[in-house]
Symmetry: C2
Subunit: 212 residues, 2 copies
């Protein structure tokens, strides 16, 4: 099996070409196309052609929020590490994750809840425009939906792509029904890499727009 | 769709039960079972039941290496962030990633290669037992195979699970044929979350053994 020679700076572009070829006749609306392609690129899993859900104007809202300098809060340090720091800097945004904070661990233990849910409570005090990106813990998504229902915290947008087997499917349907602007991947799949891929795709869309 | 009540500390165990139920009659050898289950747990993708490849005694070699205090080198900061730091500490191991090092970026640019490949060169100077975990860049795996062929660097074990479309499949077959002890996921799938899941699974196996 022979290697294909592709220059380092062209590997990503070549990957997107292969994905586009293999999608064939399948259509993707322009507005969401870079996000769908990047999720497939990140996972090598064409399920993301089918499972991604965007609430009305979700991408426009995401772009407006980031354009005005927002905080992306993630539910894992992995997702935080995966978001392109230079792209965040270019748009005056930052990323935070509270999962390793000692106060979060203590409060979670005291309340018999997860650190992921407690991190949501901590983020609710930020008093800044927030995009909340969940790549791992359905308990974070469920807690977000509680805050939204109670009017105690409403992020500008929730990227809700936890992965797994316990309450993952349910938490995503709850998110879709919550009325908050959201992007999610229906079903069990998702993950920290998918959460950061979606964030990066939106940041790169902003880059492309500011160039044109 | 109703939520299932599961206490925070039982979510992972419940997930493994669901995976085991859904695998049904499918058999997995005991030696590799915790790794296969954890990869499925991390991705919600049962393809990992079929695509994981273990060279002879790979798990035993991985455990012996970590038991004696090794460095895990990762090709992404995401994979680094995903490896359980407390588990590393318990076994006197550490994790390093050179991808954000300024000297790596400079050398890669000068040589027209990727930072991932240049990071392999940097790791080759460590002079310590290394487990190399690749979750993203086939170019890292290809460079590792060059070093192994030239006798300039041979990790104790390579975890080779890059994801994607350009030379990913080829780089994994190259790894399998290199003769280095390895764990890989044949095909296009993998990723930083899978790389760290495999590392964590092995660390947890050591924990279980030291308890028993």
């Amino acid at each position: 099996m022979k290697l294909e020679y592709v220059a380092p700076q062209e590997i990503e572009q070549r990957s997107f070409e292969i994905i586009t070829e293999e999608l064939g006749d399948k259509k993707i609306p322009d507005e969401i196309r870079p996000i769908v392609l990047r999720c497939i690129h990140t996972t090598a899993d064409f399920d993301y052609y089918e499972n991604l859900y965007f609430s009305e104007n979700a991408v426009r809202i995401a772009k407006d929020t980031l354009r005005n300098g927002a905080v992306i809060v993630t539910d894992t340090n992995m997702a935080k590490a995966g978001i392109n720091q230079s792209a965040l800097n270019r748009h005056g945004c930052e990323v935070m994750c509270f999962m390793s904070d000692p106060d979060v661990a203590e409060t979670a233990k005291r309340n018999g809840t997860t650190r992921a849910a407690t991190s949501v409570d901590k983020a609710s005090m930020l008093n800044r425009p927030v995009i909340y990106a969940v790549g791992n813990a359905p308990t974070a998504l469920i807690r977000l939906c509680e805050h939204i229902r109670n009017g105690t915290f409403k992020p500008e947008l929730v990227i809700g792509v936890p992965v797994g087997f316990v309450n993952v499917v349910q938490s995503k349907e709850m998110l879709i029904n919550s009325g908050v602007p959201c992007i999610t991947a229906r079903g069990r799949k998702g993950g920290s890499t998918v959460a950061s891929a979606i964030c990066n795709a939106i940041l790169y869309m902003l880059d492309a727009e500011s160039k044109s």
